[in-house]
Symmetry: C2
Subunit: 387 residues, 2 copies
Amino acid sequence: MAKNSVGIVETKYFTFAQKESEYLELDSGRRFGPITIAYEIYGEMNLAKDNVVLICHALSGDAHVAGYYGEVGQKPGWWEDAIGPGKAIDTDKYFVVCSNVIGGCSGTTGPASIDPSTGNHYGSHFPVVTIGDMVKGEEALIRYLGIQKLLAVVGGSMGGMQAIEWALRYPDALLSAVVIASTSRLSPQSIAFDAVGRNAIISDKNWLNGNYYNKELPSNGLSIARMIGHITYLSDQSMHKKFGRRLQSKDQFSYDFSNEFQIESYLDYQGNKFVERFDANTYLYITKAMDYFDVAKVYGEGSLEKALEKVKARMLLLSFTSDWLFPPYQSKEMVDALLKHKKDVTYFNIESSYGHDAFLLEVERESEIIRKFLSATYEKFAGNKRA
Amino acid sequence: MAKNSVGIVETKYFTFAQKESEYLELDSGRRFGPITIAYEIYGEMNLAKDNVVLICHALSGDAHVAGYYGEVGQKPGWWEDAIGPGKAIDTDKYFVVCSNVIGGCSGTTGPASIDPSTGNHYGSHFPVVTIGDMVKGEEALIRYLGIQKLLAVVGGSMGGMQAIEWALRYPDALLSAVVIASTSRLSPQSIAFDAVGRNAIISDKNWLNGNYYNKELPSNGLSIARMIGHITYLSDQSMHKKFGRRLQSKDQFSYDFSNEFQIESYLDYQGNKFVERFDANTYLYITKAMDYFDVAKVYGEGSLEKALEKVKARMLLLSFTSDWLFPPYQSKEMVDALLKHKKDVTYFNIESSYGHDAFLLEVERESEIIRKFLSATYEKFAGNKRA
C-alpha cells in the first residue's frame, strides 16, 4: 500500500426517493426521484459517530477523493494529498465520506442517467438542480449512514458552496465547515464565463437539445467550455511562470493556425482529456447550480449578513491571493458578516500565485490549518465534550 | 451637420502590390498581392504636409473612425467622440487618416476577399499576417497620399500595437506615437483567450476549413469568440456596476437554461450583433497577428529594452487601472525601457473601472492628454519648427 494512502477503495451506491411519495422536493418546486448517490468512505466511524468528515467536490470532481481503484499507483483520488493516514484529514482519526453531487456524471443520478419512467437517458428532461438540492442528497446519505452530526463539512470551490449551504440548511447537523476558495455568490464575471461555456456546449451540432447519448458527443463544445474554465483556474502570474510565451517545439512562428504557443497546447490537452470523462449536460446543470447559488438571496432576503446569522457551525474560510474566479474579497465578505454576529470564524488569505487552482495545489499550507482546525473542533466540541 | 462632427464621410480605396514583382513581402516570408486598403480621411492636409495623424483601429474596428455615412445621426464612426472639429484630434488643425487593416473584413483585402488568381474567396488560403504586415499596408497608403512624415500614429489596443510597430519599423516616418491600453506583447492569459475563441470558430460545423462564403456562416463559433472577448474588455468592477447578479425580467429563477441573468443577455446580444458585421476568418487572422506581436522578440533579440532603443518618435502611453487584458504593468514595462534610453516618453495610468473598454469610454480624460500632446508635438517639432 502506498505510504499514507487509504489504499484500494471502491465506490458504493445508495438510492433514496424511490417512491413517488418520497420524491425529493427540489428548490425549483419540482419533485424528483429515484436518486442514487455514489459515495466512498475511508477510515472508521467511532462508536459515538462523532468523527465524521464529509468532503464535497468541485465542478469536475467526484466521490473518489482518496485512494486508488484496483491497483495502488494508478491515478489517485482528487484530494489524495490531503486525505489519508496522518494527513490533514487524518483517516486514522476521522471517518471520511465523499459523494458525487446530484446532477453529476460519476455514479450519482444526473442527466446521463436512465429515467426509469421512459427507459431513456434524462438528457434535458433532468430537472435543474441547485447547490441546495445537492446538499439535500448528501444529507439523505448521511442519515442513511446513521450519522446525526458531522464533525465537519469540507469543500473547495463548488465544494465550499456546499459546506456553506450545509451550515445554513442544516445548522444543527454539523459542528464545523471548512470553506476553501469559495464564495457566497458568483460575481457577474464568473456567471459570464459559465454562460459562455454553456453556450459553447449548446451550440455544438452534436448536442441535439441534450439527447446525444449513444450518438456522437458534443465534445467540441464541452472542450471549449473546459478551456475557458482552465483559464479562470490559473492566474496571469502562474501562466507566466508555467508557459510564458514559449512555443511548442521551436523558436520560430509557424505562420499557420496550429497550436504553437505552449499555453494553446495545454488548453487543447485539458479540453480533450476532459471530454473523455465528463458529461456535457452535467456541465450545463452544475454551472447553472453555481450561478444560482446566492446565500444572501435565499437565506437573507438579499442580505449576506442576515443570511449568515443562521450559522451555528464553527467556520474556517481559506482564500488565495491570486484567485480571481472566487476572489478573496468574497471570502472576506462572509467573514465580516459572520463576525458581525460574533460567530466562531477563522480566516486565512493564503499567499499563492496559483490562482483558483491553489486549493488543490497549496496542500501543504492548507493542511496545517485544516489539521489544527479539525483537531480543535474534535477535541473541544465533538460528542460528550460538547459544551 | 452634427456639432463638432466631420459630418458625412465616405470610404476610399487604394490598391497596391498589383504586379507580382511588386507583391508585399510579409513577415512570414510569403509575397502577397494585390492589396486594396480601405481608408477614410478627415480635415485638410496643409501645404507642408506635416499635420497628418494616422489612426489605427483595434480588433473589431474599421476605417470609419469618425463622421457618418449617408446621413448625419446614423451610427457614427467608432471614435467620433475623439475626432472632429475642436475635439482631441482636431480636424480643424489636423488631417486625419484611418484605414482598415490587412486581413480585415471592412474593405481592405482579407480572407473574405476574392483571390483574383482563382476567382474564389481566399478563405484559409489567405496568408497569416502580422501587426508588422498591417503597418506595411498603412505605410504604402501614407506614401500614396504623398506624406513623408506623420505628425502622429494613434491607436488603442491592437491599434496601439500598430503605433508601436510604426515607431520601430519606420522610426523616421513619424514624429510621435500615442499608444493607448496596449502592450508590447500579449500575456499567456490573453493568448489563451484568443486561442479558445479561435477554437470555437474552427470547431463550428459551418466553418468548413474557412470556405464557408456563400454558405451558412460559422456564426455560433464567432459569437462565442466575441462573448469571451467582451468578458475580457470589461472589468469585474464594471460588471458589478452594469449588471450585478440582476435577472432579466423578474426576481425569481426560471430553473431552465434561458438567458436569465442580465450579463447573459448582454453577452448573447453582443455575440449576435457581431456576427452580422464581422467575418469569422478575419477574427482568426487578426487574433493570431496579436498573439504573434512581440516587440522584444522581433526587434530586441528577446529584450524589450534593446528593441525600444530604436524608437525616435515622442511616445505617449496611456493605460487604465482596471484593464486586465493589457494590464498597466505592460505599459509600464515599455515606459521603463524607453526611459532607460532617455526617450521622450509621457505616461498616464488613468484611474478607471471600465477595464480594457476604457480606451473607448474614458474619452474626456484621454482627450485632454492627447490634445496637449499632439499640440505640443505640432508646435515644437512639426515641419520647419523641427529642431
